[in-house]
Every structure is written in C-alpha cells, then in structure tokens.
Symmetry: C2
Subunit: 281 residues, 2 copies
C-alpha cells in the first residue's frame, strides 16, 4: 500500500480541519515520464496546501539509475520511501528507455533515458548488483551519466554495490562510504574510505549497505528532506517493524561458516573489481 | 547483490571440496519466460550437485501475480528471497504479458499471462496495493485465476492487502490471516480470521503484514522450503540486519496521531472494500 492521488482524494474537507489528519504523503497514480509526489496534491481541488506544514512540500527531482543486472530490491525499497515525498518527482532512468532486466529477471521499463533525464537533479541514486554492476562500471556512457548528473546533484547516493559504480565514476574519492559487506573493502581501491555502518553520510554522499539497507537509507533520507514526523509516518505506512526470523544479517552475526559460503561466491567479482580499479588509476 | 549463475560459476572446484563452501543459492541470470534458480546450477559443469545437501535442491514453481496499481515492494521483497531457492522457477504473472504499472509508477513486464502460467503451482503469491487492489478484487478474470491456481497450489500466500484479493476469491474462509494494518479487520468481512502478527501461517495459507513484512515472510518461507541454514545465508546475502531510524512501524508504536493520519487516507478504500464484501456474499 502506498499513498496515491486517489487515497489523498479520500481525505475529505472535514479531515482537513484537523491539521494532523490533513497531512498527505502523495505520489501520483500513474506517470507519463515521471512520477510526481506533490504536484498532483497541489492540483487537487479537495486539498488546500495550506493544511500541510510548508516544509512538507518539496520539489526534488530524484533519478533512480537502472542498468542490466541491477538488483531490483536495492532500488525498489528507496523508491518506495522517496517516491512518497510530497512535491518530488521520481525518474527511473536507463541508458535508453528500452526495458532493463534485473539480475533476478525482473523487467522494468525506464521513464527516462540518459538523454532525457533532467540535467539538474536533487538526488542521484544508484542501486547495486553483481556481474551487471561490474559491466556498468566498465561502460563509458554509464560512468559519464553518473559523473555529469553527479557534478550538479545536491545528493549523490547508492545502496549495496551501487557505491562501487559511484566510486568508479570518481565520485567517492576521499569520502566515507559503505557498500554490501562483500564489497565494502573494495571502496579503498577507488580512493574511498569504507565504513562498517548501515547508512553512511559524508557531506552530500549518502551510501547504504547491502540490499535491504535501502529501507533504512530511504527513511533516513526522508527525515533529512522533510522531518522526523514525515519519516515516522512513512515507516508506519510501510509497516516497517522488522522481525527477521534469524539474527544473521551481518557477517558478525552470521558467523564465519555462513559468511565464507556467501563471500566465496563473489571471489571472482571481487577480483574483477580490483583489476578494474587498477586499470582506472 | 544476488546469487546468479555467474556468481555460482565463480565458486571453483577447490571450494566444492569443502561441503559448506560448495553450497549455492542460485538464480539464473536472465529468463526466457521464467527465472530458474536451480536448473541452471545443475547444468553448470563447474558444479556437482553432489556437493549440496540434497534437500537444498527443489523444483518449485512459484507465481507472483502482478496487476495495475500493485505495490512493487510487496512483491520484490518476497521475489528476492524466493527467487534464490535453488531449483525453483519463478514466474511474474499478469493478466496478459503487457507491461503492468505499479501504484508508484514502476512498469514491470510479466513473464507469463493467466493463460500461459503453469497450471500446477507450488506457490501462488499475491501482492497488495490500494485502489489497484480494489479494482483487481472486482475483476472476474483475476479472481478466476487466483481461484484456479489456488485450488491446486501447495501454498497460497500474500503480503499486505494481497490477502484481501485472496479473501475476495474465497480462499481465506475460516483461515487465520493478516494484511496491512489499515486493512486487517476487513478480512472478517470475507470470513477470514484477522491475526495481528507479522507473518501468519494457517495450514497452507501464509500471509504477511504490510509492505516490508514481505522480507520476513520471504525468509520464513525459505526456511520452510529448505532449512534454517539456507534462510540464514539468504538473510546475510540480503544484509538484513534492520536498523530503522525510528520505532514507528506499527500503530501501537507510532501512536494515535500518526496512525490516524495514515488511516484517514484509506477511509474510502476501507468503505469500498466493505461494500464489495457485502456484494460478494
């Protein structure tokens, strides 16, 4: 469940009389080239923007890069959170607008291409992956897009190995950052400073750890861009009261055997990234 | 990051000598009509299936229903977890194979249609949404598909308001079940027994609470279909060590004001579902 124009329309005039009840967290129903959070709300005659705290209405342009072999969950978690920022516009961006297939076979169609993505972004977001991320790190057009939009973006961000892509584009030199635990140390090879933390903020670089860290990343960013009340409402909407069935979400908790099993599967990925880092420098 | 055929291929013969290191959790790189977890591994000359515990290799057919206005995160979390079941095949299923737009504007192309989806499924999974879920609950073809596949599926499952769709199809009568907290009580209107729990298992019905509960739902199901070791490895791969920035993920934790604000946005959704329930009975 998300807040759409239709759910917002269900909040009647009576509710608007009570300041708290009048608040909305809108995202439009269905986009043309982008999904608008706030514009739709402002245009809704059933809603007066006066009823919202003024700072709840933004106008951010947020681009979510996708590329062949990206991990969908890395992107969809943050998209859920940031897509509910009232007034913001979100863009799923591919090299072209042809459908992009994720590492697990989900086919997602971009809303914009490198050519049509707004040039001045508030937030550039990059998800991770495995072999697909490595391929993207070798792709000049992808690196150029990240460098170009990153040069003017107010916030440059990633989840999982998306930080390797930012690093390969030269955007993390001298910055504290994190990544999926398998790949975190690789950040050093690109001049970044790896930090073992779920969400790392260093100036305008915000990086999240592996896959599911995108939820914590997204909520943190919602709080930064709006306020704690807004983020808490989004956490409730997402019913984000996690109850993992086990306690094995980090190498420290999972223990050496399970960690070695997973890490071993990425040996060649790690080696290939190291080789690439050398060739870049 | 996920385990793909390529990451599995990186586990060499030496690693296979150590039983633990030899384990893999495969999902194929890119599907034709479905995404295979295990078949690809068995076919990989670099891997002997003898190295895996026999019960780690399954052959489940798992269908993820999508429909206009569904909430992508409801589906993508479980898909991440279940798509890594070695030997399993996952199918993103739409009414047709035309692209389906989520409530937040993500466009996803199904891998199968109601007509081409395998008839005998091991797992039928249904995600939730708001207005789109209500529309699907009124759509005869969608209800027929759920009833037909549900009649033979070994496990019938949902996250968020997906349980309302199962209920509207008559599949939850007399069953304990859960849903998004906004919609949980509505289950009664369809003869189900609402339970305030993040994941509810009653015989072969497994339902998860709102949106992010899909992660806990998915891991629980992985443990049920394989074992705890497998699920713990997946939890580590997903780096699922949640650190929500606030403690507001349930109505009980968020408090009455925030809860009322969100609940109020869904007043007309709730009323419409109640009306629909009456018309069905």
């Amino acid at each position: 469940m998300t807040i759409t124009r239709r759910t917002l329309a269900s909040v009647g005039a009576a509710a608007l009389a009570a300041p708290l009840l009048s608040r909305g967290l809108g995202a439009a129903d269905i986009p043309a080239t982008a999904t608008s959070g706030g514009g739709a709300v402002a245009a809704d005659p059933g809603h007066s923007m006066d009823a919202y705290p003024a700072h709840w209405l933004g106008k951010e342009k947020i681009a979510f890069l996708i590329y062949p072999g990206f991990t969908a969950l890395d992107m969809v978690g943050p998209h859920y959170m940031l897509g509910s920022l009232m007034g913001a516009s979100t863009y799923i961006v591919g090299k072209t607008q042809d459908p992009v297939v994720s590492d697990m076979g989900l086919t997602i169609t971009p809303q914009a291409s490198f050519a049509t993505c707004p040039t001045d972004l508030d937030i550039l977001f990059v998800p991770g992956g495995g072999a697909g991320t490595l391929a993207a790190m070798k792709d000049g057009a992808t690196l150029n897009f990240i460098r170009d939009r990153g040069a003017r973006a107010k916030i440059i961000s990633s989840v999982c190995t998306g930080s390797l892509l930012l690093a390969a584009a030269g955007l993390l030199k001298g910055y504290n950052a994190t990544s999926h635990w398998v790949a975190r140390d690789l950040l050093k090879d690109f001049g970044a400073i790896p930090v073992n933390q779920r969400v790392v903020v260093d100036r305008n670089r915000i990086t999240g750890a592996g896959v599911t860290a995108g939820l914590d990343f997204g909520l943190s960013l919602v709080a930064q861009l709006r306020d704690a009340d807004y983020a808490m409402a989004m956490q409730l909407l997402a019913e984000y009261h996690p109850e993992p069935p086990y306690d094995s979400g980090t190498p420290e908790r999972a223990g050496t055997q399970t960690t070695a099993m997973i890490a071993d599967m990425f040996n060649s990925f790690v080696a290939d990234v190291r080789t690439l880092a050398k060739s870049i420098q």
